[in-house]
Symmetry: C2
Subunit: 200 residues, 2 copies
């Protein structure tokens, strides 16, 4: 079996949400696993000199409009969260704690987080909410609450972000297949093509 496709995302990124909604399709169409990897994109921005889209004149307004229409195009439930962007530390740390035990469970949790933020507009920086979201996918609340504050998982998220940056990740979402990096939800068709053909 071929290597997994790495799917790097920040929970605070609308384009990552749209990519997440299409990640399972990418997996079964390409015949590869898609390994979800939460990162703190702000750290990658510091390395590349990038800024959040909404902090950029003209491009920021374009992006807000684009998120609305892309959501309509792919029939994604979507509303701009009142608090945007937010620091996604709590769900990201919890994600890595789960990913080590069970990738499938970690993905279900990640989907619940994305949905809460971009479909319901809830504040995913709030640990109490994150614990509640975990409960909806069967995760023990006390264990999740502890993990999200544990130095081990704080460090793990830092390390995973650092590794991503070393792989050339500079935006969210970002895919790596067989060492080849692709930036953006718009590139998922190319990622699929590369994965199937082993490059071109």
């Amino acid at each position: 079996m071929s290597d997994a496709i790495s799917f790097y995302f920040d929970f605070s990124s609308p384009y990552a949400y749209f990519a997440a909604l299409q990640a399972d399709d990418l997996a079964w169409r390409s015949g590869r696993e898609v390994a979800w990897k939460a990162i703190m994109i702000g750290s990658a921005f510091r390395a590349s000199g990038n800024k959040p889209l909404v902090d950029q004149p003209i491009k920021g307004a374009y992006a807000r409009h684009d998120w609305e229409r892309v959501a309509r195009l792919i029939n994604a439930p979507y509303r701009m969260p009142d608090r945007f962007p937010v620091a996604s530390l709590a769900p990201s740390r919890a994600f890595w704690w789960l990913a080590d035990r069970d990738q499938a469970l970690a993905q279900r949790f990640a989907k619940a987080v994305f949905h809460a933020y971009f479909a319901e507009g809830e504040d995913i920086s709030d640990l109490a909410l994150v614990v509640q979201l975990g409960r909806t996918v069967g995760i023990d609340p006390a264990a999740l609450e502890a993990a999200a504050q544990d130095a081990v998982w704080k460090q793990r998220l830092k390390d995973e972000t650092e590794t991503a940056i070393e792989q050339g990740v500079f935006g969210s979402p970002f895919f790596v297949v067989d060492g080849e990096g692709f930036w953006g939800a718009d590139r998922m068709a190319m990622v699929e093509d590369w994965a199937k053909r082993g490059g071109w």
Copy 2:
């Protein structure tokens, strides 16, 4: 007949070259004219705070690699020009002089310029080369040479760039269909979809 799709490009932009190679397909598939519009993307960058890709750490290296693989994917003749980017004033002014007389001829000229730069690696900032390229598509050399230096067409290029910026153009290529803007060659399928359906 529906309104034309505006296709904004800077002759110095590799992604605009890839879009140009697919612009005729966009036209006949969508049943709309595609109106080619040369602009000076540097002016739009000043308005939006953007920088040329190759001046950005990490993203610049990604872009150079991406141009190579996108060229392979779409079977485009491509080599990185030795001089890159260049100021594309001469061909852009000549383009507008031609576009006023004959859009089809202006497009043939634009294709010759893109090909010279990105397939042959020639220096399209050189007026003598631009005149020679015009000759290959049947344009009188003396008239083109005069037009490219005429204050009227210098101003026209400035005005067209200004108008583009007012329409929200901040990158190259950029498409506008029925007032809806789309940034990037990656969005051509969406542009086609929007053009056919009149939005979504």
